[in-house]
Amino acid sequence: MTEKRNIAIIGAGIAGQEAASVLAGLGYKVTLLEKQERMGGMLNKWSKLFPDFSSSQQILDTVQVSANKNLSVICNADISSITKENGRFELSDNSSLKVYADLVLLATGYNLFDATLKEEYGYGVFENVITSVDFEKVHKSGKKLTTLLGKEPRRVAIIHCVGSRDAKSGNTYCSKVCCITGVKQAIEVTRMWPDCEVFNFYMDLRLYGSKYDSLYLEAQKHHKVQFIRGRLSEISERQDKGLQLKAEDTLQGRPLRMNADIVILLVGMEACEQNADLCRNNTLDLDENRFFKSKNIHYARNISTQPGIFMAGSCICPMSVNETLESSRSAAFLVDKSFRSVQVEE
C-alpha cells in the first residue's frame, strides 16, 4: 500500500491554520502555504470580535501553528496554479516554487470590497469617510476615533451593505457579518465618546447569530445607538470638512438629510481575485458570486467540483470567525475521510 498522506493547504489565515493543526495532529504531512509574510490573514486587521468584544489576537494566538515534523509552513508563497498529474497535485506560484500533494485544501479567504468604487460615498476623496477596517485599525491602536482635524466626533454614521447586495458593485449577495459588525462598532464608538450620537443606516438588520440580537438591544438600550432604515444614497463634503448624508427614512417615507462628522462604511467580503487563476487547468469552479463552488451546498459544502480539492472558511462564502473555524474542522474531517476511503479501496 502506497502511503498517500501529503496535503497542501493554501492560505494560513485562521481557516488554514486550524485545518493544518487538526490534520497534522492526525499524522498527515501538511504543507501550509501563505502568500503574505506572516500567518493570520484578515483577522490581523481586526481589533475586537463580535458579539463578545473578545480580542482577535486571542483567537490568532489560539489557532497559531508552528512547524513540526508533520507540518511545514511556507510564507510569501502566492500560489497561482493547481494542476493534477499522475494522481498528484502540483501547486506553483509565479516564481520557482513547486509543491506536490495528494490532496489540496483551499483556505484562501476573502478580499475586502474596495470602497472607492462606491464613488457616491467619497471614500478616498473625503477624509472623514472611513471603512470598518480603518475603524478596527484605530481601535487596535488604542487611540480614540477622531475627525481629520483631530476633533471629537459629535455624530458618527455607520453605513451597512457597502459593496454587498448591490448590483452596481457587482455583488448581489449579503456579506452576512457587516450588520453585527456595525452594531459592534457603534457600541465601540460610544464607548470612546459617550456623548457621540451614532446612527446606523441599514436595509435589513441580519443579526442571525446567537447573541447578536441581544447586542442590538444593548446598543439601543445602553448606548443610544439609533437605526434608520434606508440605504444611504450619497455623501458630500461640507466646507468645514463635515459630511452631508442623504437617505430615505423608509419607515416614514420621507427623505432625510443629516450632517455627520465621521462616516464608517461597512465594507463587504468579496471573493479573492486569484480564485479564477486557481480554477485553470482543473475542474474547480466558481459560483455566481466568484467564490469557490461547492459540490453541494447542503451536504458537501467543503467539497469542491474538482475531486481531491477541498475548501474551508470564507473562500466558500462570507463567514464569521466561529463559522470559519467550524468549517475548517469539517473540511479536515472530510479530508481524513477521503484518505481512509482511498486506502480501503486499495
Binding site: G230, R231, E248, T250, R254
Partner: protein, 235 residues
C-alpha cells in the same frame, strides 16, 4: 380587455426600468420631488411590482405619478438596477391612453402641455422658440429676457442667429417640407393618435365638468383657463 399590468408590460421601458425592488429608499433619498411633495418613488415601484390592478388603477388616477421631474437621479444609485423614473414614464403613458389622467389635477395639465409644447413642435419644429416665451407668463425670465423678446430680430441677428429665416443656423425657420415630414412621423408612429387621445379625454372631462359653450359642446378655452388657475395648493 387588457389589464393595466399588461398595458404597462407592453412598454419596453418597463422591462428596462423594473427588475426587483427591495425598498431600500436610495431613490427617494435624492429625489428632488420627494422633498417637496407627498411623493415617494420607492412606494410607486413597490405598487407596480405588486401587480395589483386596483392599486395601479388608483395610482394612475392620482397626482402622484405626475410629481416626478424626470431628472433620473434615481437611476445611477439603485442597487438592483431599477429606474423608477422610467417606470413613471410608462405609468404616465398608460394613464393618458386610458383616460385616467383627467382624474387628477396634475394629470389634467397634460392638456396644457399638449397645447404649448405639442403645438410648438408641430407648428415650428421646435419645443420652444422666442415668441413662445411670453414675459407675462414667464416673469422669472426677468428684464433681460423682456428686452430680448421685444427686440428679437435685432438681438438674434447681433449674436449670429438666423431667427425665422431660411438656411441653417440657430432659430432658423423650419420649412414646410421638413414640417410635413415631422407630421408624417407623428402620424406613422402613433404620436398623432396619442395627441388625439389626450384631447378626447380632456374634452370629455371639460364637458362633464360644465365647461361648455351655448351648444353644450366642450369649451376648451374656458377649460384651459380653468386648468391654468386650478388650485395649486398641495392637499
Amino acid at each position: 380587455m387588457r389589464t393595466l399590468m399588461q398595458r404597462l408590460g407592453e412598454d419596453v421601458r418597463l422591462k428596462e426600468g423594473l427588475h426587483a425592488c427591495m425598498s431600500c429608499g436610495i431613490c427617494t433619498a435624492v429625489c428632488p420631488a420627494a422633498e417637496y411633495f407627498e411623493y415617494d418613488p420607492r412606494s410607486i415601484v413597490v405598487t407596480v411590482q405588486s401587480g395589483n390592478e386596483a392599486k395601479i388603477r388608483k395610482l394612475i388616477e392620482s397626482d402622484t405619478i405626475w410629481m416626478c421631474g424626470q431628472c433620473m437621479s434615481c437611476k445611477p444609485r439603485c442597487p438592483r438596477n431599477n429606474c423608477p423614473g422610467l417606470i413613471i414614464s410608462v405609468l404616465r403613458r398608460v394613464s393618458q391612453e386610458t383616460g385616467a389622467f383627467v382624474k387628477s389635477r396634475l394629470g389634467r395639465q397634460q392638456y396644457l402641455i399638449l397645447k404649448t409644447i405639442g403645438t410648438n413642435i408641430l407648428e415650428t419644429g421646435y419645443c420652444v422658440f422666442p415668441a413662445s416665451v411670453v414675459p407675462e407668463t414667464h416673469p422669472e425670465q426677468g428684464d433681460v429676457w423682456r428686452w430680448i423678446y421685444q427686440n428679437k430680430e435685432a438681438v438674434y441677428e447681433r449674436v449670429g442667429a438666423n431667427l425665422d429665416k431660411e438656411g441653417p443656423g440657430a432659430m432658423r425657420k423650419i420649412d414646410r417640407e421638413n414640417l410635413n415630414e415631422l407630421e408624417r412621423i407623428f402620424a406613422e408612429s402613433g404620436g398623432n393618435s396619442f395627441f388625439s387621445t389626450i384631447v378626447k379625454f380632456s374634452r370629455a372631462y371639460a364637458k362633464e365638468s360644465g365647461f361648455t359653450d351655448a351648444d353644450g359642446e366642450p369649451d376648451m378655452e374656458k377649460y384651459t383657463d380653468f386648468l391654468l388657475n386650478e388650485d395649486n395648493d398641495e392637499k
